[in-house]
């Protein structure tokens, strides 16, 4: 954490909301990205990210300065998203929302962005199939490059739980990849046979 951030935190602790807005500005991308990867929907990610910052602001007194601030924020975001996913599972799925999500976010012009966006959508499809606990662990490990120890602290679970969740998540991602490759190969074969 930089000196400016530490200063902003001190001011925010005294109830200065503008100072905390600086913190929001600094950490909006990692928090939003985590929420997006967890929830798979831009609107839900925006709401979850806003709620994360609000919870952080309201509970700033509980923040332990010994811990990295980013990890603390990600911990709040991950817990909130896990709760959201659990609630969502209890509700009926709105089909319109799914269709909207699949068609959403057309990538802007440059080729690189298109390719990255394709990777992004492909990985999101794979992540969506994971349960919320395994997904959180996998995202923290590979999108945020946290160590197993840091994940334990962030999600407040044991190291063995982190290991087993990671194992399950990797297995799932591999299965998803294999299935998508197989379906692509079938499509290709069908296309070739049609052209012949």
């Amino acid at each position: 954490m930089t000196n400016i951030e530490a200063e902003c935190l001190t001011l925010a602790l005294q109830g200065n909301q503008d100072a905390f807005t600086q913190i929001v500005d600094t950490y909006q991308n990692p928090v939003y990205n985590l929420c997006y990867r967890m929830l798979g929907n831009p609107q839900a990610a925006e709401d979850a990210a806003q709620e994360t910052f609000w919870r952080a602001y309201s509970n700033l007194k509980r923040y332990d300065p010994e811990r990295p601030f980013a990890t603390w924020l990600l911990s709040i975001a991950a817990h909130h998203c896990i709760d959201q996913q659990r609630r969502k599972r209890l509700m009926t799925v709105d089909l319109d929302e799914i269709i909207e999500f699949s068609a959403e976010d057309p990538a802007p012009n440059p080729e690189k962005v298109i390719v990255e966006s394709e990777f992004s959508e492909e990985i999101q499809r794979q992540l969506n199939g994971l349960n919320e606990n395994d997904r959180a662990v996998l995202i923290l490990r590979y999108f945020y490059e946290l160590s197993e120890e840091e994940i334990c602290q962030t999600l407040q679970i044991s190291k063995s739980a982190v290991k087993s969740r990671l194992h399950r998540a990797r297995q799932h991602m591999t299965d998803q990849w294999t299935t998508s490759q197989e379906s692509q190969a079938t499509e290709r074969r069908q296309h070739e046979s049609q052209t012949i």
Binding site: Q17, F20, T21, V24, D25, Q28, N29, P30, Y32, N33, Y36, R37, P42, A45, E46, A49, Q50, F53, W54, Y57, V113, V115, E116, S117, F119, S120, E122, I123, Q124, Q126, Y142, F143, K163, L166, H167, R170, Q171, M173, T174, D175, Q176, W177, T178, Q181
Partner: protein, 180 residues
Amino acid sequence: MNHKQFESWILDEHKLSDSQKADLLIHLAACPKCSQLDTGWQASRKLMKQAAAKTPEPGFSVRWQAFAEKKCQMKVIRRQRVSIFMALVVVFFLSLTYMVASGSFLHMLADIFTSATTLLFNMTKGLSSFGYWIGHMPVVVPLAVGFIFFGLINAFILVGLFTLWNIRQRKLQTDEIKTD
């Protein structure tokens, strides 16, 4: 070597010694299942690395400020409601304590019971005389009275339901305006 062991080496990202690496390579060349697992996991990992980080729409912090304002207002309203409720509870218990201690509580209970009994008695008496007069009239009159009576009850229920629905609609509209 155990097949599970190789699976664990692939998926759990163990730090392998040189001999273990060699064993794994030999196994991957011979076992299509493990080879597929290894390829699949490496590809997924690559995908995760290459996937672009998602960023919020511009103006996130401004939206957060508005969100925080709204939350602060809600907090104040909730606090006010809790204070009013607590004050009412305190007043109620204080009154109750006073009434029990002064003995007026038992008097009040007795008065309520007497009034309720008198009211019930008068209502029964009134209804029986009403029934007596209705019984002596042509059949059309009691039927008409019955229709009017049930009609009024249904009308009251419908008005009540419409009012509730209207209040809900107004609340939803207000919420929409607030979010806009």
